[in-house]
């Protein structure tokens, strides 16, 4: 699998990106420091203790060589007095130890960095001479000063000597790697936390218009974003509120005269005209309800509830059949989904209503399509909808047949639009199909609704506080109420 670097950088979370950038920065900084140190270590003549001692020693040698032979013993004494780490010795009395010279990195480095040092005989030696000189020092450097004298100095003197620690692993890990890994993550979390809260708040707001404003803290840019978000949220709330108020007012203002009309109509003597007027009033009221619910459902939102889907579908069909309209439900039991039950009821009721109205009867079937997907199929025996009109049918204010005009019971043609709006809000899909022809008859319309459901759980046989045993159910004659 090949991942482009660009997408790896841009697609990850900001937290990881910031943390990675910080880690890389630290790594680079440490590497530069380390390289610098090593480089310095390789050029000990500039600043390190060794170089200072060596440069001093070379300087003193030059002074010694240029001085008069008569003054030399005085000069030696003066230099030694002023520099405790430099001693003059008789070159012949130095015990040379070549073997210990060679691995001496300081000498090697010195000679590599300053070619003129290569010309001096550098020695590591324990000088024979005055007791107490260079006590506790193992490594000394000697350079020929001429006239049988040698300048011996301790390379560790004159400044700190750089030592690369030998046992680095645990200390390095804890003091170096761990902060390098953890600090960037912590810093990135600190930076991205306001963003995370903003996202959370936006999510909550989009679900339930949650009114708590976001704290406008954090980095300046995010603070501004939060302020902008709060402002936008206030405006949306005002919009939604004014819309809700308007809808309530419209609903009230339309229904109040409708109520008067209905009361007056009911006072009329019975007859066909009165029945027709009452039907019209009911139709008008239903249309007001339809239009309002279409507008309202776009903005309002209630909490999701876990709902038993077969019970909901069964109740809808039972309500229809109780009103004398043929609607039937079949399907498995114990399918639970998260939904807004009133909205889902309205969506399915619209489909059943259409099926009954245009197809004479409705059959609602529930089928499990996958562990977490259920299909609700609403079928009728009507003429169906021709293919070119199937998609248009979901448009608000559309009608099955443009030539038919506004039929008495048809309403605004919002039924399918409302159903689609609700189903899609629940993460589902709604599609129209032709039923397979049966016995030579054309099939009618099949509305398929796919909805995400919760994984099914096996039913519990006996629940807590179980019912009485069957033997206890003998009738007691004339039991009082």
């Amino acid at each position: 699998m090949k991942l482009s670097l660009r997408s790896m950088i841009t697609d990850r979370s900001i937290l990881l990106q910031v943390a990675a950038v910080l880690m890389v920065c630290q790594l680079v900084a440490h590497a530069v420091t380390f390289a610098f140190v090593v480089w310095r270590y390789e050029r000990p003549d500039l600043l390190t203790g060794t170089s200072i001692a060596a440069v001093q020693a070379i300087g003193f040698r030059d002074v010694f060589q240029k001085s008069d032979a008569a003054e030399r013993s005085m000069l030696e004494a003066a230099i030694e007095r002023a520099n405790p780490h430099i001693r003059f010795h008789d070159a012949a009395t130095l015990i040379l130890s070549r073997a210990s010279i060679l691995p001496h990195a300081i000498v090697d480095g010195m000679t590599r960095a300053r070619p003129e040092l290569a010309s001096v005989t550098s020695l590591v030696a324990k000088p024979v001479g005055r007791e107490g000189d260079f006590a506790g020092t193992d490594e000394l450097v000697a350079i020929q000063a001429g006239a049988g004298r040698a300048l011996v100095f301790d390379p560790d003197q004159g400044g700190p000597r750089i030592n690369v620690p030998r046992v680095v692993a645990p200390v390095f890990l804890i003091a170096f790697i761990l902060p390098m890994l953890l600090l960037p993550v912590w810093a990135a979390m600190l930076l991205t936390d306001p963003l995370r809260r903003l996202a959370q708040s936006a999510e909550r707001f989009s679900i339930d218009l949650d009114p708590t404003p976001l704290p406008e803290v954090g980095p300046a840019e995010i603070g501004r974003l939060a302020a902008a978000f709060n402002l936008m949220r206030t405006r949306i709330r005002q919009l939604v509120d004014s819309r809700s108020r308007m809808l309530a007012a419209v609903s009230h203002d339309l229904r109040t005269p409708l109520t008067r009309l209905r009361l007056k109509t009911e006072a009329l003597p019975d007859g066909e005209e009165k029945e027709k007027m009452l039907r019209d009033i009911s139709a008008m009221n239903a249309m007001i309800g339809q239009a309002l619910s279409y507008l309202r459902d776009q903005t309002t939102s209630k909490a999701l509830e876990r709902v038993d889907l077969p019970a909901l579908l069964g109740s809808i069909c039972d309500d229809f059949s109780d009103a004398g309209l043929p609607a039937r439900f079949t399907g498995p039991r114990n399918v639970v989904l998260e939904c807004e039950p009133e909205l889902l009821t309205r969506a399915v009721s619209n489909l059943v209503d259409n099926a009954v109205k245009f197809g004479g009867s409705a059959v609602v079937r529930l089928e499990m399509r996958a562990q977490t997907e259920a299909a609700i199929l609403v079928e009728d025996n009507g003429p169906g909808i021709p293919d070119p009109r199937k998609l248009l049918a979901f448009e608000p204010f559309s009608r099955g047949d443009p030539a038919r005009g506004m039929a008495e019971e048809e309403g605004f043609g919002l039924g399918l639009a409302i159903a689609k709006q609700i189903i899609e809000r629940h993460g589902g899909q709604i599609t129209l199909h032709d039923r397979a022809p049966e016995n030579g008859k054309t099939g009618g319309l099949l509305v398929q609704v796919l909805l995400p459901v919760l994984p099914r759980r096996p039913a519990k046989r006996i629940a807590e506080g179980g019912p009485l045993a069957a033997t206890a159910c003998t009738p007691s004659p004339g039991a009082p109420l």
Binding site: R255, E305, G465, L468, P475
Partner: protein, 240 residues
């Protein structure tokens, strides 16, 4: 069933609706007083014994929800809310605030009279039998029945939808657990709410409820059929 002439107070600001409603309620045998706002209502409540309040939701001055809350705190008579909003939310809020029923405008006069009778009968039940004094929640075998919100939740917490008639019947059962109830008794106890021409028999309703709450509807445990014509609700019912 005959009811002694009940006195209904209608709180409604629209004079035409008030006049029309008063007319057919009077024709249906009720005594009706009318108050256009909450102050007139308070006066009438002081002067007369009111059996039921018909309360409009949108009123000038104090609105219906606030009046409902206030009446509930001081009076016991049943309240039916009338509203032109017809929103589910208002219905639930209204019932939670203590309204006994809720009717959307425009209502049919027949429906309104049926609801008023049902509420009055239930009110008589409350005073006589007092099962409603336990509050609005019943719990049986992990199932939760909320009478005010008209909701049933199964032991897993999922809402199980019932039709109006099914719900009323289940409430009747839950209020009388472990007692044999004949079909006639059940019919009498649930009558009033759903009185449509296609009203289902008790048997149909019981079979539908079983489909929804029994683990195996063919071998019911909760609602058992009793020989000689009746049913018994077997679980223990608690009222939290």
């Amino acid at each position: 069933m005959t009811i002694p002439q009940s006195h209904i107070l209608m709180v409604e600001d629209d004079p035409e609706i008030a006049r029309g409603t008063t007319r057919f309620l009077t024709q249906s045998g009720f005594r009706v007083s009318h108050a256009p706002d909450s102050r007139a209502m308070d006066r009438t409540l002081r002067d007369a014994k009111i059996d039921l309040v018909l309360l409009d939701l949108m009123l000038p001055g104090e609105d219906g929800l606030s009046i409902c809350r206030r009446l509930r705190a001081s009076h016991t008579m049943p309240i039916i809310m009338l509203t032109a909003m017809g929103e589910e939310m208002d219905r639930v809020v209204g019932l939670e605030l203590g309204a006994d029923d809720y009717i959307a405008k425009p209502f049919s006069s027949r429906e309104l009279v049926a609801r008023i009778r049902a509420v009055l009968r239930r009110g008589a039940n409350i005073r006589g039998n007092a099962p409603d004094e336990h509050g609005s929640k019943r719990v049986f075998a992990g199932w939760a029945l909320d009478v005010a919100a008209r909701q049933l939740h199964n032991p897993e917490g999922a809402r199980v939808t019932l039709t109006g008639a099914e719900f009323d019947l289940l409430v009747v059962f839950a209020d009388r657990p472990r007692r044999v109830l004949t079909r006639d008794q059940l019919l009498d106890l649930t009558q009033g709410r759903a009185a449509g021409p296609f009203d289902r028999s008790i048997d149909t309703l019981v079979s539908r409820i079983r489909q929804k709450i029994e683990v195996d509807p063919k071998d019911p445990v909760f609602i058992q059929t009793v020989r000689l014509g009746g049913y018994m609700f077997t679980p223990e019912v608690r009222t939290p």
